[in-house]
Symmetry: C2
């Protein structure tokens, strides 16, 4: 069997052909990242024997590469939310997430997530995660200080602020800089180590083992170049990430990410778990949805600028989350996306990678430099300025906190896809699962003994239009736990 | 088995459980529309025994409900193209269709279609289709006269006109009014009748019959409330239309069509053929793509107007095909899409159903009537007018033939989705097939004995962004023929 990523389902080995079991356990878990570690801990705590199979030499997965922010709230608020003076209601969180995911929303998953999010916070703390009772008030992707709470999505921007009372729900670990991922995975790995959980590193899961009724009985893994048959009496949980590193799957399902240039994920995000689940009869859903973003903040000051398209028109309120911006950028006609601002508002955006497309003391100079129609650009800026001076944005309802006239000297950053500016991306599609993690067939029938969590499943976050930071690690850890408990409780 | 449309694959009956064959044939065809009739004729002409199973009491399918325009050209031109003075090259047709379908294009199908399109024209003529050697020069969805040739897509509009030399390729039968569909299906039905092809009406196909290797051996149909096992020695061809009448499938795969209000298709377009193919192991592709359109012409005079969004901004060249317009309308932020024009250019658009949103002697009056920002609207119109007077559209490159300043008195038509204006729709997604019609698994392996054509397969037309009238009936009849020949040639 080749290790080259493919895009076709991986057929399970037939149970009846298994001649011997090389290992036996109650619950076998593929992948030792955020979802896998949480699944293992909960399954073990429920009394199940657990083995984790990790393809690399260490735990971590894509969670370790992330900021490990976790999106949590509701039920009156987490301890941090309360300490910071926020009284977050479950309904506000639910209504926000439902609106954010729009027609793609999985109401059952969102409901469970919102109702149990404070409990999840407490559990993370009980594991050893430290969160400071403080708020980070900058407009940011994550807190670069050790402060905890911050707005990480579109809660305060139109139209969401009119749908649900805005509340910050991004929880950042008490650590300086972008070091939350290694810290969280360190904590979870230590917790795994404290339990009677066996971990096999450098162990590549190859295929599931299914009986004639389609129930999953185990998994085949390759360790030391030998295939081992692993009996999983209660179930197999696929926590092997998404498919952002699988070119063939990207081309087949999400060709639009070809405008992106930075895949977010670890080299193991080859879709192997999704394909194994699919081969066992699992349905895949929303495979055409991807997170694509333009990380134009921090610094927040750039949000005082306006984004214009090739026609020098604004097209969305600029105070939105950065992935929602990219979502709308992809809808524009013509070639050319520019962030225009007053030169004094310019600070270096560390994650953007944009070139300066032009500068000017006058709008005409700027337009000529950038290659935009000067009359269009003049009207766009003047119209914006005139209303911004009154704290209004009649076209797109940008929040007044970010409204002020754009004065000369002007600068324009080139945010055109393909210009070299950063458009990171990862995948949202995956196995169709119940909130319990049970993998569903196309008939939405449960495949006995098969579970998935994290980006191997299609979870709460499903569209760039409504994504917020912390939803991925939140979804992976939360539903990893749920799947671990569900598998352990199964009478296999 | 219930007749209520479902969205889950229909599992095939096991060959080994068939106790008796109620009918036997070489080729069994599900559906007697454009694809099915052409498949039957070619299979029969190749010497195969053929039975068509049609769920209704008559032939027709969705082809009979259409104008039956067929998109054809290349190879120096069809007889009509030549007579009208067009020298159409295969490469121009190929390059146009490749650009029109963009990243979704099936190069092999488009290549085969373009290379054999003139032959297909000659075959249709040999069947009895009559095409007049004349061109219909109005901007239209179909010719309402008995003239034949017309531009039916985006060939003349930016950017396509710069990619391939524009040529009209829509072929309209020699019949007055919108009566091409019944005429074409009459002709094809008559040709079926001349051949030793058995037709079973009121015959609902229920499931395929597959052997243990997955090869298709027949089909189960219900006739007179009895299930009949039909042996198909060479193959089964699924020509049962798309899934525009299946609410559950629409919701699952193309939620965006919820803005549409007129499904285009016949009541049998329930996806039954797709689900049977899927149950037999066939892969479905591009299920999230749909044709959605805003039929704002004829009359062509409305193309002198401009479309603006809720921000009173233009967003695309208005000389494009009507489905491309809807494709871009769906990308706009906010609620509100208006077609603004000089009152004298207004003629009743028979297929649009739009209310007048406002009128005015001045832009300010119009803006107030419609509820748009007057300053934005003034700039949009004045900018457009200033350049239109010079025959230019620097923003969107509308063709100069449609450029002239919009003078008062003004009128605005409400084209906002949901306002009551017509947004017809149908589905593009379907079974993954080779150009031969052979249905492919997710591994892209051929399922022996299974073919699909028409909207049961995912064919040449795949996105509203590049669709043109005549591509559906063109694809259905062309690839129906190919599938009929391929099935007849198979050693079953």
């Amino acid at each position: 069997m080749s290790d080259t990523p493919k895009s076709t389902p991986t057929k399970p080995k037939r149970f009846s052909t298994v001649e011997q079991w090389d290992m036996e356990t109650d619950v076998a878990i593929m992948g030792f990242g955020g979802a896998g570690s949480c699944a293992a801990i909960e399954a073990s705590d429920a009394g199940a024997d657990v083995i984790i199979f990790e393809v690399t030499a260490a735990s971590g997965g894509s969670t370790a590469l992330s900021s490990a922010e976790v999106y949590m709230g509701g039920n009156g608020g987490t301890a941090v939310q309360k300490a910071c003076g926020y009284d977050d209601s479950t309904e506000d969180m639910f209504n926000f997430l439902m609106a954010a995911m729009g027609e793609l929303a999985d109401e059952d998953k969102i409901r469970m997530y919102c109702e149990n999010s404070v409990e999840h916070f407490d559990w993370l703390v009980s594991m050893g995660a430290k969160y400071k009772n403080s708020e980070y008030k900058e407009r940011a992707i994550m807190a670069v200080t050790d402060d905890c709470l911050l707005f990480t999505g579109n809660e305060k921007s139109y139209p969401f602020r009119e749908i649900a009372k805005p509340c910050p729900r991004g929880h950042n670990l008490e650590v300086e800089g972008d070091n939350g991922g290694p810290m969280l995975m360190g904590i979870l790995t230590e917790q795994v180590g404290k339990r009677p959980i066996r971990v096999e590193y450098n162990a590549r899961a190859l295929t599931l083992i299914a009986d004639d009724d389609g129930a999953i009985q185990g998994i085949v893994v390759r360790i030391d170049n030998e295939e081992r048959n692993v009996r999983a009496r209660k179930g197999v949980i696929l926590c092997a990430g998404g498919f952002v590193m699988n070119q063939e799957m990207l081309k087949k399902y999400v060709p639009q990410v070809s405008i992106g240039n930075i895949p977010i994920g670890n080299p193991g995000d080859t879709g192997a778990g999704i394909l194994m689940g699919q081969g066992a009869g699992g349905a895949v859903i929303h495979m055409n949805e991807a997170f694509i973003t333009l990380p134009f903040y921090p610094p927040g000051s750039l949000t005082f600028g306006i984004f214009v398209n090739a026609q020098a028109q604004r097209f969305i309120n600029e105070d939105i989350y950065h992935a929602r911006m990219a979502h709308h950028i992809l809808k524009q006609s013509g070639q050319g996306i520019y962030l225009i601002l007053n030169h004094d508002d310019y600070e270096h955006p560390p994650f953007l990678g944009a070139e300066v497309a032009g500068t000017g003391e006058t709008i005409e100079e700027l337009a000529e430099d950038v290659g935009l129609d000067a009359d269009m650009l003049r009207h766009t800026i003047e119209f914006y300025n005139q209303h911004a001076a009154n704290g209004e944005d009649p076209l797109f309802h940008k929040h007044e906190a970010w409204l002020k006239p754009i004065e000369p000297p002007y600068a324009a950053l080139d945010c055109t896809p393909g210009s070299g500016v950063f458009y990171p991306y990862f995948t949202f599609g995956g196995l169709d699962t119940l909130p319990t993690g049970e993998v569903l067939t196309m008939e939405r029938e449960v495949i006995p003994g098969l579970y998935a969590a994290g980006r191997t499943a299609c979870g709460v976050p499903r569209t760039s239009a409504g994504y917020g930071s912390g939803m991925s690690v939140g979804d992976a850890t939360f539903f990893g736990r749920v799947a671990g408990k569900a598998a352990a409780a199964r009478n296999g």
